[in-house]
Symmetry: C2
DNA sequence: CGGGGCTTGTGAATTCATTCACAAGTTAAA
DNA sequence: TTTAACTTGTGAATGAATTCACAAGCCCCG
């Protein structure tokens, strides 16, 4: 299968969200043009994105909303339930733990881990906080698919090394650090500082 | 001035972080090669990125760490203090309010806004929470440069319209929504659902 | 049943981003 | 002073992503 660009996958995500919106409003078909307007892109882009995976539309008519939504869920792998653990039970960890979007999309948070004895044994938004010492053992037992990293930047690489060694293949990183891992491990980094500096740059260099 | 790609600006941010690291370790020069290794890119990429803004290095020697750091701060607009307000005093707002990276980089959080009477008048990590009703009035008085949006998805566009009308030119959005604003308003969106679905896709479509 | 009005799917063209490759400049050592 | 070892800065080449543009298919109306 041809390699799919990151930007394409992000747009597919966006399309799915719009389709779900249309679905609840009971609309049955949608054109690439409407999908594009909604997402700030072009109709050609929408059709090209979808064309990597098959042809789901009807010429002259557009796409069936429920069918396309289903196809996108399938493509994005949202059919099954993903097992998630959070490492780092601080403020960001707490914010993520209560985020409804997780469960809604089939992401099931099993546990959180921390090294602070005051937090271990308590609950974070209903999720048990465990000792980070048992991280490897628990990973081997619970087989989480995704690790969400919300530890300080200078501890992040260490945790990555540990969870990768224990068999984890996907990491969502909120630590402000450049992480290194084998190619078969998918890492997405969300870096607030970078986004802010992007805004700072935009404000500074406006023509 | 030639348009600078978003990806370039993000890398400049990363370079600056590495340089600060080198700075505290007392190193005085660095080559594009070392900078590249650290950030998972190539030396040619580093040099090309910097070349858009001038030539800061010495052939045969590399870059002066403090000088290049200074230049990057200047380019990214980190010399001045940016005034920030947070709209939405929920968990994510709280996590951001306590995030040290903000103040460290010159982002000064003035206030948070919410529509929940239980929150209004209290403090969020030391930052006053005000009634969202006074948002326009306060924006006109305090002239914040950046609005951080942490309201629910279906309220986000409404807040954008309000703050844009009041004169705000930069928005950092954490709501899962596609926002629309005039071209002279810079918007960066951080969408957790999208990142997670990117991981889900990667786990599903591994060759 | 035929024509007009839409809309898809996709090669080709274009635009944008990254990598290559090398002349030119710098340092240090002999 | 000459030479060897480095490293930058940058056009040119390559590669990737987006946009164009249009044939082909579908629906509806008369």
């Amino acid at each position: 299968m041809k390699r799919i660009a990151d930007s394409t996958v992000r747009r597919l995500s966006a399309y799915l969200r719009f389709l779900e919106d249309f679905e609840t409003r009971g609309l049955s078909t949608i054109s690439s043009e409407e999908l594009a307007n909604r997402g700030g892109t072009t109709s050609a882009q929408v059709r090209k994105d979808l064309s990597f995976f098959g042809s789901f539309g009807k010429r002259g008519l557009g796409y069936s909303v429920p069918e396309l939504a289903g196809r996108l869920r399938e493509i994005l792998g949202l059919g099954k339930e993903w097992r998630v653990v959070i490492v780092g039970a601080g403020k960001i960890g707490a914010a993520l733990a209560q985020y409804r979007g997780f469960r809604h999309r089939g992401f099931n948070i099993l546990a959180a881990y921390d090294n602070n004895p005051d937090k271990i044994g308590r609950k974070l938004e209903g999720i048990p906080v465990r000792d980070i010492e048992q991280l490897e053992r628990d990973i081997q037992r619970d087989k989480p698919d995704i690790v969400v990293l919300t530890v300080p930047g200078d501890e992040a690489q260490d945790v990555v090394d540990r969870v990768v060694k224990a068999g984890v293949k996907a990491i969502l990183n909120f630590a402000p650090a450049q992480l290194h891992a084998p190619v078969d491990v998918a890492i997405k980094t969300v870096n607030m500082a970078m986004e802010l500096e992007g805004l700072s740059f935009a404000l500074t260099n406006r023509e």
